[in-house]
Symmetry: D2
Subunit: 414 residues, 4 copies
């Protein structure tokens, strides 16, 4: 029995799903290649990914490949109720409601896992977390799974290091066709989509502070510059800091950037990157947003405690009046802004990321007996296959090495 | 008696207005400078500008400067009903409803003009049009007005050329602080805000065709490149075409661009720039949007007539199935995409444009007896004043010429 | 009798001229169109333009159009002796030597003018200056001329304002096909060519201070950003300052920029933009360069007087040890860096600028009797002709307005 | 006994070395840290790196750290004779002459190795090659070495794979502080420096074809775009091809790009990337340049054989008249353009790369007994040290993880 907000919303949800489908040629190709073989036949799959139209296409593909699919969200604010309804309409079981409380959210995750799940598709690591704590008893049936995010993989590797990981997991984020594109071009565009549509303010000319210069931060910074902003990067890694400098950005400590920035965006995977001490240094009227997976990058908790007043400044924007008389504005309560304040990544990006998910799921289903309780990289051929299909869908042909060239590349003689 | 959709929406409208006010320091400074002098005392002003939160701030400023303000929209799809309600709540008379039919829309304009109007603030020229045709009898009372757009100014100059213009009009669009910023940075950002939020598709990698390389087209092309797209420009003016080429864009005829583009955006001020013959050449699934003032740049009329089927592909996106089996998607029925599918220009941009409007209105009120029935440029000191206030609000100080430098610049000797 | 350095250099000079010719399709087209008509037949033309391979092509074209051509330079450091030799080899008279002293330089100008000159092509205004002072007696024969630079036009307008201008001059710089392209793309690229080849330092990451945000400054700033630098703009005009801000650059006073910059480039047309007081604020080891016409934008004179020591730090780089112990490095003695430290504008740019020159010269020759002693704009049809030929040479076709579109643009009715 | 061109050139060479030294803060810091410890005391080091001012600073540093340094070039066209003279003046032995024939070049390498060499610093793999073939007998004394380039590492790994590698080699290219910066920002800037100064043609508007989208290709493409060009990328790897597409570049096969490009640049590390069959497809007057290590990327050999005529079109530019009547222009005979037609990488870049070299050399000297006959990565702490020193020299401070943040990053629980 599904748990969703309102079944009657299914028609608008289905429209969104079909729209997305148009821009997902790689998933389409996988469907064509595998629909007859049904490689996931009999596998019970739990999907905990931001529940919107693109994810729905992954869920429907897995169903077409033979799986029994159980869907939940990975963040209460990113769930789209109409899409959830459409998936139920299409015969899937769904456990997700937008705006669920923390407690309800975990309840939905548990209801999802209580379906004899064999394979998980996780995004941030919450399913994995439950299967290693409260629902540990269900972990025996799990043949393995895939994890989508940097954050989730950090958590998985911590588990693996402590020798506690209970099933093999594929680090989807580490595939080239995922992190090169999703984290940079996806987060880059959708973060700004979310900020622009929520605030209606000008980006050009602004001082934008980007915390973290990993692939997400690189994408956010690049698009900020493309929109005419001046970018300041904060980092803890000297090599990445230097890369930001060479890319033409200012680099400094957050305590210094705090005084200059007009818009602050966190993308580190770490907590407390913007702390209350920083917020007190900021100019009146600055905007804070988070693009990392969890809403811990900006220390909202302390802000809530210390602010004199909190109010809704505009839809999805929380205004805080500080003790120093200034105000700061937080978008979507510091949850990841591209999902909580926009429609997540552009469709084409998730087509590739989810193609990696789908093929990795098949890989787990077919190879789980040989796999150890480790975090695995995505097999290289999956990466190349996805890139190849995407290029083909774009009508792009590329060169091939000639025999002489291959020989040359293998030789050490002049 | 105002004509609006629903008075009860005023609170959300007021929130939007106050949010915008935060980012409008130039209007704020004008209020401070003039509130005691009330330079518009006793003047009845009609405002026909896209009715949303920024425009509301102009209307409220003019009221604070002493005017009796009557507000209508300048496009049925850009009116925001909650903002209209808030203005009524603040004591203004408003005649505008989102989604009004053509007939209703003109009825609202007329109701606005039937208030002993002396001064008009026009956007696209519809008030002016009525005052030269159906409501010609009301034109005697008009001391003059201001026109915001390129399109409107083209119409005004046509009137002037035929010797029919009935009152002086200030070409606000031609002020540096308007067209340099509004048309480039405003249209550039907000066009892409509208396209991204409406479609959720990737911009990076796409072939974007921009029709027209005036200031609007320049802004749209620059932001497209900033978002990772490959830009193709079409133009009728060889100098502008060459400028686009040197800016690193491909330049070609629309009939050639039609075959390559993924997203098409018109910004020419002209009609039928994308014609049915071009649409038939396009790839399956392309997106068409218009950033020009009127919805005539894409020939929607012929498309409606010839398409086999029309359906709502996603909210605010019309899908058309063509006779050749392909589909094209039009955003917001070809109306100007930044207003019909987003919140219009960024706030800071309209702060400057509306500052020009406000100061030009004062100028008209104070000088109308000396002015002829002509289209006037904005006085240079207004431009410099607005730029100066904006810089000051940003905390930016600039150099001044020394005495020796001024002398040098005036000299022809070595 | 020509005055040049060394006739034997002609072969290398000719090679440079022929190389440039390859990339000058517009001059080529003018040659084809006019070679039979010889519109400059019997006209004695003096050319004072930076004497290198592109200028040589203009000189040779004018000769082919019937003129008797006398060539000098417009800056002692920009003259290329091999090109001068090649022009003599081709039968022209040339008066220019690289590295001439101020006195020698003016001597060369005078020798050029003492050839019954009727028409001058000036670059910076030195010929004009002589014809209004020392050689005033020769001005009666002058039917008019063309001026290439912003600097020269400022001087001409000062003359005109004082009622002293003795013959009509065409302001070539104000043609779209000149200042839109030459000043932005030409100066932009060649300034950086000069700085990079002279210093071998990294541009990416550096703080580059650009003084002046006219068309030259815009080009320099844009290319700086394209090379990965962070740009700071200084300006005296608030509208241009705001434009720089919106283009994503920092804007501040020179006294503040002085403390931050790594590389400083002046492009204002004014004197003493970087003064000794600024230089004392600078970090150790900064680079100073000038892209304006005259070497007065950086106050080298005071620097020479106050520095403890001056030495050649690298070829064409002067190191100065300051009283505060720091050093600054000046490229090419503060002369315009793209000519004194590189090969001037890219060839294609000068093709267009010189096409304007050639056609304007013909225009003066044919219309001088109707022209007054004023500064004239380049006729619009010359601009459009040049843009059209350039587009054609690139194989670019553009749209034309349909009849209905033209009618629409002329109409004021809906 | 050194073998150089002309000792009397030493003064200009020394000036270049001292200029470079100014911009090499990381080498400076290493000198300060190690000068007392003399970690290379008694080690005979052979350096085969492009012999110009930056390399000279590495050589002088190694000498200061105690080594006996023997210097040769790594490409006959990149050797600067004045710098070679200056090194001899400073007491080093040097074996290199610009423009040496193939035979002479290898003679110089051999003379260098015949000095009881223990440690090699190689660039492209020519020293290594000799030590595995003709001079195999000298390989016993070698404790190990460092290799600078992608090309050299490909050759080393081929040797290792065949089990033939005779001593441990550090893959300097694979250090982050090398390939992230050197290959992208170094090659990017210096390639365009070389092309612009050699040709004087406009980059803006041109179609630039970049073969290979590794780190070098990425840098070249990015700077091309920054200079206003339209970029086409060719690739053999689908993931890299897709990355180029998402970065906003056109991607196609060389046979298709050949018809469109105005400027072609190879950066693949492979041979015959531009073949005669491609050249025959090209437009008249295109420019070909190579940024890869060896001059085999453009098939010059076949071009030489098939062309009707070859001539010097401009200094360092070879013009070829093809059988189809068109001409193509090759810069610097297809040798790596940034060294053969400019001054190589910007100084600051080589400061970092050579810091890796110096520290890796110390590492080899101190650990060679523990190292196997393998290709080793640069130890991570060397990378971080170099990045840290560089940041410090720029006055940049970065954040540090707090205790709570470190704990958070190691945890898998919510």
């Amino acid at each position: 029995m599904s748990i969703i907000k309102d079944y009657s919303l299914w028609e608008e949800g289905l429209r969104k799903i079909l729209w997305a489908k148009r821009f997902m040629p790689v998933l389409d190709q996988i469907r064509k290649d595998y629909i007859d073989k049904k490689p996931l036949s009999g596998v019970n799959v739990a999907i905990s990914v931001h529940l919107e139209a693109k994810t729905a296409n992954l869920a429907l593909l897995l169903k077409d490949l033979g799986a029994n699919v159980y869907v939940t969200g990975s963040n209460p604010l990113s769930t789209q109720d109409d899409v959830a309804a459409a998936l139920v309409h299409e015969g899937l079981e769904v456990f997700a409601i937008r705006g669920a409380t923390e407690e309800e959210y975990f309840y939905h995750l548990k209801k999802t896992l209580e379906n004899d799940i064999n394979l998980i598709i996780d995004d941030g690591g919450d399913l994995t977390y439950l299967l290693h704590t409260e629902l540990e008893n269900l972990s025996d049936r799990i043949m393995g799974g895939c994890e989508e995010t940097t954050t989730g993989i950090i958590r998985l590797k911590a588990l693996e290091k402590e020798g506690k990981l209970k099933f093999p997991m594929i680090a989807v984020n580490d595939a080239y066709c995922k992190h090169l594109f999703d984290n940079r071009y996806g987060t880059g565009q959708s973060t700004w989509d979310g900020i622009m549509r929520t605030t209606n303010i000008m980006v050009a000319g602004k001082h934008v502070v980007v915390a973290g210069y990993g692939f997400c931060g690189k994408g956010i910074a690049k698009r900020a510059q493309g929109l005419g902003a001046k970018v300041i990067v904060t980092e803890v890694d000297p090599v990445k800091a230097l890369e930001a400098y060479m890319d033409g950005f200012d680099v400094m400590k957050m305590e210094d950037a705090a005084k200059i920035g007009d818009i602050f965006i966190t993308a580190t995977g770490c907590r407390d990157v913007i702390r209350y001490e920083h917020i007190l240094q900021m100019k009146d009227g600055v905007i804070l947003a988070n693009s990392g997976h969890f809403n811990v990058e900006i220390d909202i908790a302390t802000l809530e405690k210390k602010a004199l007043k909190k109010y809704e400044a505009r839809k999805n924007i929380q205004g805080y009046v500080l003790e120093n008389g200034r105000e700061v504005f937080v978008i979507a309560e510091g949850r990841l802004v591209n999902l909580a304040a926009a429609d997540g990544h552009p469709i084409e990006i998730m087509d590739m990321s989810f193609a990696i998910q789908a093929l990795s799921s098949i890989y787990v289903a077919q190879n789980h007996e040989k796999l150890e309780r480790k975090v695995y990289n995505v097999p290289g051929e999956i990466d190349r296959f996805v890139a190849g299909v995407k290029l083909k869908s774009l009508g792009i042909e590329i060169d091939r090495l000639t025999f002489d060239q291959e020989k040359y590349l293998e030789s050490w003689e002049v």
